[in-house]
Amino acid sequence: MVTTPKKWMDTSNSAKMETAIQFEEIFEEYWSRIYEILFRLVGNPAEAEDLALEAFIRLHKNPRLFGEQHNVGGWLYRVAMNLGYNALRASKRRKKYEIEAGTYKLENNSSVDPAIEAERSARRRQVRHVLSLLKPRDAKMLILRHSGLSYAEVANIIGIAPNSIGTLLARAERDFEGKYRRLYHTDPSIPEQGG
């Protein structure tokens, strides 16, 4: 792929230029994927965007990773999952973003049905709450798998053997469902009735 080199860094020599191009390619390839996975964890666009940028900024500080095509994605996901999972567990910072997100919704989306939005935000809160109660590894595995990553990729990101992913996922799912049911007295597959 040919891309126009941008001013990512001081491009005073060709090695730096090469690094800048590599970084840009990585950014293009992973930006929306990293954003989306972080969005699932933190639940609002502003925070997901900040965290995704943070992951890329950290990558930028490790230029030795740029050339390792097979590793750089795993590294990014690993960093992003740590950032996102920690944010999921930290409740204090969340507030600021939630207020921003709420305002954003109201200002930008007159077509949104308030009832559907209320349902969605209630469900999201519940799901995230349950995720925050799982073992970090379990929560990360569930999100990674749900985001469409292969077992091999999940194994690389989490740092476990690929042939144990199925077993661990099944266990994580049992734990998720058990906790969900205990907390919200409802079967995850049946939509809630009424308010």
């Binding site: 989306e36 969005f39 699932r40 950290r58 490790n62 144990s164 992913i165 199925g166 969900y180 597959s189």
Partner: protein, 391 residues
């Protein structure tokens, strides 16, 4: 043989190696027990994924456009570069010391500590090769001081002069940015010593290796004296031979594991209430000529903290200055005690951070050649439980 849960879920998720797909499919067609297991597995899987689908971004929550994202990234990188590029001597030096000497040693304390280090100088002018005396941390002692006894105002005024003096006389080899690593093994490889992490905590949110650095200080005695005068402690005597003497401080590579919501970008790290950090490094060493009377300098240091000469003498008798890291902590708002960590002696300081009402701790201990420091929110018990879970 029946396929196990791992194979069944892998089959459902289409993650089975191709050679096993047919095997499992054939077996499932014939085995009713397996069909039952399979169906309960996939119905659970479907339920959970259904639930997780709530988290998927809706069309209004899609990522911002690539060009806009690049712009934002570019801007952030520029900000970072601007704040890092000048990387003034003092900023990196303070933040480094801040990491190693740890937070509650307030700025004044750190300045005192550096002053002490800068006074760790030979009693005779050293020749370049005559560095035999060695300081190595084997023990940690805490000394409390009353900040009210420090000459605050003049300290504030003089700290700029002091930094300038350091900049003129101190050579600090820039250790560079910390390297982020993903496992303790990588950290061990990079840092050159065996890194251990507490099993009591989840995986660190950030694991980084800071390469070692060497600081060389050439004592400019007239300026040190001027500084002492400025802080109204010209009563502390320094021998003339100190002038021009050289002291070398070596910080080996250190490894910092951060847990929870920590921030690293500022020079003075802001630690939120959920941030726990665990630092480990081989003992820093200070080389100075064998003639150096460390005890005398140590006593001068204690006097700077507000002790009378007699009190400094008494304290000094209890410790071996060549192997003891003395950490000053303010008298108010902190408490300290010695604790046992798997049979080793540790020093625990508890304090309330400015504006915070939740206690925080610093627990330090030395095992073999390695100095460990654990900081975080919580109580003595929390700290000890984590420290004892070192793998």
């Amino acid at each position: 043989m029946h396929p196990n849960n791992n194979q069944l879920l892998s089959y459902y998720d289409q993650q089975l190696p191709s050679r096993e797909i047919k095997q499992v499919a054939d077996h499932l067609a014939l085995c009713e027990t397996c069909q039952e297991t399979y169906h309960s597995l996939i119905s659970l899987s479907a339920k959970v994924n259904n639930q997780l689908s709530w988290l998927d971004p809706t069309p209004t929550e899609e990522p911002i456009k690539m060009e806009a994202a690049k712009k934002r990234l570019h801007k952030q990188l520029l900000i970072q570069n601007q704040s890092e590029a000048p990387m003034s001597f003092s900023k990196s030096f303070w933040s480094k010391l801040g990491t190693i000497m740890l937070r509650p040693v307030y700025t004044a304390g750190v300045i005192l500590l550096i002053l002490t280090l800068s006074m760790l100088i030979p009693s005779v002018r050293a020749t370049a090769v005559n560095f035999l005396g060695l300081f190595r941390i084997q023990q940690i002692e805490v000394v409390q001081f009353n900040p009210a006894n420090l000459p605050h105002d003049s300290f504030q005024r003089s700290s700029a002069d002091f930094e300038r003096m350091l900049a003129d006389t101190v050579e600090f080899d820039e250790p560079g940015e910390p390297q982020i690593v993903s496992t303790a093994e990588d950290a061990s490889d990079l840092a050159g010593f065996s890194v251990t992490l507490p099993s009591e905590l989840d995986e660190p949110s950030r694991l980084s290796v800071q390469s070692g650095s060497t600081t060389t200080i050439v004592i400019d005695l007239p300026r040190v004296r001027a500084l002492l005068q400025e802080i109204e402690r010209e009563d502390i005597e320094l021998p003339d031979e100190l002038d021009g003497a050289t002291v070398t401080i070596e910080f080996p590579s250190s490894v910092t594991a951060a847990y929870g919501d920590c921030q690293f970008e500022e020079a003075e790290p802001h630690r939120s209430r959920t941030c726990t950090t665990f630092v480990q490094l081989p003992s820093p060493t200070i080389t100075a000529p064998p003639e150096l009377d460390i005890a005398r300098i140590g006593k001068a240091f204690l006097q700077l903290l507000g002790m009378t000469p007699q009190e400094a003498e008494d304290f000094s008798l209890k410790i071996d200055w060549a192997t003891t890291l003395v950490i000053p902590v303010p008298l108010y708002g902190t408490s300290y005690e010695n604790v046992q960590i798997n049979g080793m002696e540790g020093t625990l300081v508890q304090y309330n951070q400015e504006g915070g009402n939740q206690p925080e701790y610093i627990l330090m201990w030395v095992k073999g050649e390695i100095v460990y420091a654990l900081t975080g929110p919580g109580t003595l018990e929390d700290a000890v439980v984590i420290a004892e879970s070192l793998k």
